[in-house]
Amino acid sequence: MENSFLQWLAQPELTHYLMLGAMLFCIGITLVLTRRNVIMVLMGIELILNSANINFIAFSRYSVITLDGHLTALFLIILAAAEAAVALAIVLNIYNRFKTIDIDEISLLKG
């Protein structure tokens, strides 16, 4: 039992990568939902985007002949960088206004 699991682990296939992707996605969502610090939430978002990347590359490598998946992953990396840049600028502005980056304390708008 122990041995066969190790053997399965030692021969990576599509399933392994998909499981890694799914795990990263879940960790990302958990971070977003539980963390109150905006920077940690942004890191969770990066994890979500990277989990999609792993999926794309794994599918592209193991099941289809086209390079669509690889290309998509490249675009996604650039996009994640652009989004992070904008997000950090906005967080900096928030820090200047509120002197905090705790999401719970940034809540003037309600109703």
């Binding site: 969770g44 999609a52 599918f59 289809v64 086209t66 669509d68 996009l79 997000a87 906005i90 109703g111």
Partner: protein, 493 residues
Amino acid sequence: MTEHILESIGLFIPEIILVAAFCAIIIFDLLLKKRTQVGGWILLAALLLCGIALAAQWGISSSAFFEMIVIDPFALFFKFLLVVSGVFIILFSMQNEELMPYKSRISEYYMLISGMMLGMFLMVSSTNLLMMYLAFEMTSISSYVLVGFTKKSIRSAESSVKYIIFGSVSSGILIYGISLIYGLTGSLNIFEIGAAMSAMESTPVFSMALLMVVTGIGFKIAIVPFHFWAPDVYEGAPITITALLAVASEIAAITMLIRFFRISFTGEDASGSFIMIPEGIRWDMLLAILAAATMILGNLSALWQDNIKRMLAYSSIAHAGYIMMGVVVMTDQGISAVMLYAFMYLFMNLGAFYVAMLFSNKFHTESIEAYKGLGYRTPFAAIAFTVFLVSLTGLPPTAGFIAKLYIFGAAVNAGWIWLVLIAGVMTIVSLFYYIRVARNMFLYKPDESAGPVRFDNATLAVLVLLLAPVLVLGLYFTPVLEFIQHSLAMYGM
């Protein structure tokens, strides 16, 4: 290959004009530091040119850049709507007092709007999931910055951070869903996905992917339960950006949803009638439940809002629910009802936001309670506001009535009686909060000290431009219907 690219560039002229405007605004901003509104005029000229370039594409139906985007009558119709809303937004922005303290960098604002317009143009015309996602993100990233543009305002700063967090999470969920669809079908091209789907059985993984895609796009349309960002963001953002988000970006996202679902997830059975693929999946029921929830929650929450922007935000959510009824039907009749609704909604919602902006400029208040007596101080603007609100409610003889009539008719014909019942009841509920604004304006006497207020001629001209379609289209709308009949054809259907 070279020929195909050259041919594609020929079809891409409207978008190229927008990119050129984007660059021109940066350059002219550097050269003419003093002329603060130059960016707005450049973008206005570019949008008018863009409208002419679009008119030249009338009747063309072809794909470009290796089926990355298509140029078809369906996309053309929505591009026209986007151009019209863009022109109005720029005219509004030039008068918006909120933006005045940021005069020295106002060109950045127009530059970002042109980037957002480009993203929305691509959203309505893309036929490749990667292109769709890139267009989606282009719109989103520009709008994150625009929402926080008045960065000294504490509310604007808060709404932009909320928007970017919720927005990036939902777009992350969208791209994860797309990666699953890619894995299931082996393609990112929505025509190939449609072909693969018709040969497939529905699996749990597929349902999950579909749910993720609906989450991502539903966030942009602001349908319940993915709407929670909308009231806060709409209230905090500069009001011109609120109007842009509530009208243009909502319409673009709905168009993207229609095109994707129509091409990839519908097919024809042996008798030629419309079915959902892959077999065994009822995405129309999912969308119907979301539409019903959106109408109920949007209208009920709008009842106790005092801030006019927040009230209009909830009303926009409710209208997204009405439009989703047409998407649920998805037949030609349903889609033409959506197009008619989008056309009417554009004028009446922009009009309501415009008057709200004028009042906020003059009286420095966004509170509906503070509107008391305004009907006597500025009769024309107050009457126009009332017409827009009556039209948003859907009462004759305004454009909103025709729009609701067609969308309810399409839903009844397709057998969605319960959905129409909910929509009907919610329309009555909406009467309360729309009419409350009119009541405050007309049924209270103004203070003795408060004199009449006049707006300048340019303001009144823009107001008439918005008011005329709302009144005229309520009585005579045959040309619009004919335009829509010509615009129903999607490339590849």
